[in-house]
Symmetry: C3
Subunit: 211 residues, 3 copies
């Protein structure tokens, strides 16, 4: 179980870094910038969470997160054409979604264990963990970030982490089961959004219509 | 006194969130993004301050800040046309100014109590508390932020918090009176700037003239 | 030795603030914004490092960093034409490079002393210390930052701090000598890049070619 958790974390860290590199590559960026943005995207969200929690950052105790993000960034730089192939990119998007789901529930679990700012902080920090790295990347790369798009990326995290917090209040003895279920629920929601190109409807958006 | 302080804090948190939503709404943003930016604007400055002070973030001990910011964001999303009415928007600007003044002096007071980086840190962190949330919002929304405008928003905070630090050095026994006076002084300066459309004069600016 | 270290730190703090003001001045910015961006650029990188390390920020114990950054920002605002003169600007670039080199090795040394996230964190945090303030400045000023350019600024820091970490693993008894050598190595690399207008070659960059 721990080992599966860890494997998905590492695959997810790599996926976060690779999708980051593919996102910024069209803007013209050198290998150094690629590595910085890959690492920042992969560990930025969790770092923000730990800084707000005032606990040691998670990667200080396990450098594998940095090594994997670095290796994935270099690989993505060297083999851009491989990763932008249609099937490969789709696969990456799903791994990225699964990893985001896992990181979010890991974050909610960590915040609950610290009894920090219940009941809202576990949900807020799950969202920050899942999307924080990508937001920092987009700000540094001068790209529009997902808060300003209608992509359905963070909303599944909101639902899943809320569900997890509620579950922990009522069935704390089933922590593992609740955790796995919520990760899968977030992933299923995100996968459906990717597959059917769902986006936030107009009635829940302001400003100019999209079509 | 405490209760008045708390009421203004909550009204100010709501005003920060509402003015944030009105600022980003024209760019086209969905309800999720609206809530994230509303909350970030309302609590971002104080969070930056507490992270730099290396103390627990203020909202972890009182979730009302988050609930109020969330409710105000949703309300602003649903009732944009109400809040953009001329008199209503003017009222919001004044509440926002009063809240910024209060948050700044609360911050200076907190930093002074911690004996952190005297004498400059209380002033710096008062400014960060008052404008930090808005800066993060503008960066995430891709808007020009107030550092790059000539709006007189932070300068009253600079004067008021400097005055408070000086007062605490000479008349520490009159902390409440000094605090209230400085909040009112900041607010009066800001209100005058809103009312008479004051902006920073050309001689104190670089680059292209505004007129 | 300590005193030389401190003198370079202060000259570097001033150089960071002055180059920041010169960088943002063409965008039209008032004296208040100039001071905020000057101070943020000068102390932002070290602040990020200390927040990630979860230790008190370095400037809380020595307000001279803030006073020097503030005075340098005001001076740069008042005497822009002096600092943009060709020889003066070149001098500033070299001082900025020397200061970045010193701040980076100071950071690596601090992280090594804390035994934090070895062996990668000293290198990562050296880079963050050297470029973090400039990145925050560019984000706040809406400028393209150096991650998206091909300027050779951070790569020397990467090499020099890696060298320092390796040296500390094998010859920890020669800490001062290793530190000085690595600062000089970074500075020499950076100075060469300034002098001969080196930039990252096309083969190490993505996207549109520069020529």
């Amino acid at each position: 179980m721990e080992s599966l958790n860890y494997s998905i974390s590492m695959a997810g860290t790599a996926a976060f870094a690779i999708t980051a590199v593919l996102a910024v590559a069209p803007r013209g960026i050198d290998l150094f910038g690629v590595c910085v943005l890959g690492i920042v995207t992969a560990i930025g969200g969790g770092t923000l969470r730990d800084v707000i929690l005032n606990v040691p950052v998670f990667w200080a105790a396990d450098m594998n997160y940095i090594w994997v993000a670095l290796a994935a960034s270099v690989a993505a730089f060297l083999a851009q054409s491989l990763f932008t192939r249609k099937e490969m990119f789709a696969l990456l998007l799903y791994i990225d979604g699964l990893a985001g789901a896992l990181f979010a529930i890991q974050a909610a679990d960590k915040v609950l264990a610290l009894q920090f700012g219940l009941p809202l902080a576990p949900i807020l920090l799950a969202i920050i963990t899942a999307i924080g790295g990508g937001l920092i990347r987009d700000v540094l790369a001068g790209r529009q970030n997902l808060l300003m798009s209608r992509e359905i990326y963070a909303v599944p995290v909101l639902f899943g982490s809320t569900l997890f917090v509620v579950a922990m209040a009522y069935i704390p003895q089933h922590r593992s089961l609740a955790g796995i279920s919520c990760v899968l629920a977030i992933f299923a929601f995100r996968a459906a959004a990717i597959h059917w190109h769902w986006c936030i409807p107009d009635c829940l958006s302001t400003g100019p219509k999209t079509d």
